[in-house]
Amino acid sequence: MTLLLQYTLIFASVLMLVALGGCFAEHSGVINLGLEGIMVIGALGGALVMRYMPAGTSALVMVLAVMVGAIGFGVIYASLLGVACINFKADQTIVGTALNMLGTAGATVLVKAINTAANPNDVSSVIQYVGPKKAFLVNIGGFEFNWFMLIAVIALVIAYVVLYKTKFGLRLMACGEHPQAADSVGINVYKMRWCGVLISGVYGGLGGICYILAGVSEWKFENGVAGFGFLALAVMIFGQWRPTRIALAALLFGLFRALSNVYMGFDFLYSLNIPSTVYNMMPYIVSLVVLAFTSKSSRAPKAEGIPYDKGQR
């Protein structure tokens, strides 16, 4: 049972972080389909920090450094989306898809180059972080508490406050609903959209490093993040672009994901004899059904996906 709780919470943290990132980008009016790629690059940033930090580093410094690494990589990578979609008015779906492919390919090439440079016989795309990983875990009576669970909650509170209680957040959301109106009252739409995209880089990067720290202690970058970016997109839609609901949706989807890992441990679930793929599939089916019933009255930002052109009426 503790194992189920632990997995649910850590997967929910990943999904919540990434979905909140997507939420910021979409509220500013940019669809961020590249979340999967941003996660991979964020994970790469964090993993590289863990690889190169000296062994004796204290836990606090390690956690902070890894976070900075993941956020830095995530933000830089997200700016590729910003340049193309905001300044050059590119199609957001193509660029997002490209970023997903580029993320995995780029991370693989880079990690392999690093590994081969260190040891000519090592052509794998694996980074190990057995030691540094301990900095993130606190064992409370069999339950492995991961600092990222706390970070996710803090990130949720920040997202809620920023979006609904600050001038900045309300302006950001105005740019996703009706950019022309926002512009007419002196809000710089391009700047706001850049903020939205960069914040999604921060959250996406954090989500990425959180994901690869969830269970294992080495990561093969050829595998990317196995669709978690897309799952987070589903969480965001399921949560109807609102932070609090996103948190609940993340818990639900995290539970499904955790069940697929640990359902063997429950007698009644095991006796049902449902393959783990069904649990993996459930979140997608559920969100598709929910979408079918709710899309007529969807609360998606009205202007998302449409490049803003000042000259357009």
Binding site: L33, K89, A90, L99, G227, M281, L288, S295
Partner: protein
Amino acid sequence: MKKNIWKNPAVQALVASLICIVLGLLIGYIVLLFINPSGAGEAIVSVVKNFLNYSKTNLRLKNLGNTLVKTAPLLMCSLSVLFAYKVGLFNIGAAGQFVVGSCACLISSLGWGWSWLPCLLFTVLVGAVYGAIVGLLKSYCNVNEVISGIMLNWIGLYTTNMILNTVKEPTSPYTLHMASEAPQALLPSLGMAKLFSGNKYVTIAVPLAIILAVVIMVLLDKTKLGYELKATGNNKNAAKYAGMAEKRNIILTLAIAGALAALGGAFLYQTDYEQWSVTQSSVPGMGFNGIAAAFLGGLHPVGAIFSSYFIQHITNGGAYVDLTKYSSQISDLISSIIIYLCGFVLFIKYAMNKSIAKREEKQAQQGKLASDTEKGGGGK
């Protein structure tokens, strides 16, 4: 006045794609320089040369055949994407439709022992139904096709893994070899193999894919159905007002797109070139590469033939880099950079048109000036 060839949209599309390719290769080269400067030039040349890396003609032909075997499914996926895009729909679900297509042809051949033609038809049917789900959700429930496509990609992947678990090799995660277990389901070669010095994987899939590209072009440009579909894509409400069944058109478009992508699955797996791994945890890249090929080909079926070949060419070429220095994923990196740059195509075209307009204006002004002075001279 002579017509400026740079104003021709086809020329502009070609130039824009070539710019993307050259920039993509250049950035790839710079990345290689950073990793290991000593062999970067050589590596990029071997990626571009692909089968030309061999010096013997028969080996060249054989490896050209291997590239073509994978070009056929890629072309089908890119046709699927571009067909839907012409109707204003972004079929990101092509990846999932490719997956269920693979599933349909593998289970009907390995599991049920069907021969190749029924397998192909069954695949088309399954793909059409899977694509139509996206269409139904779009037209009746207002679900964005990108989102439902992404969801269905993953549902398709997990379902396929579950179904194909019944026809896998006992000791490995791969499905059974079609050549030994279900040879009746292999696509006929019709002498294609001989053309490529006995490469048995080259089948009618290659010419069939090219024929289908032409069919799609004719369907879009020369038929009433194509016109109606494009009209629906341009403005759904205007199409409805003009008496077109706009809901039916959306569903039909995605059903056709689904069938095309699914056929791509059959074109790959019914050659036994590859086996499906039932433990794969991410959606195969074929559908996403199809998006790349569609946009690199300027969203034209004939362009897609060349761009699909090009993308597959450099992907296969990645295997020829010096693996002690670089990884073969360098070609994935280059092709994903090219797709990223494809996002800028609109901007490149805009810049070209602007510079043409500027030049013409200048010429017109100079012409006017010249004629003015002439007039002035005449008046004296």
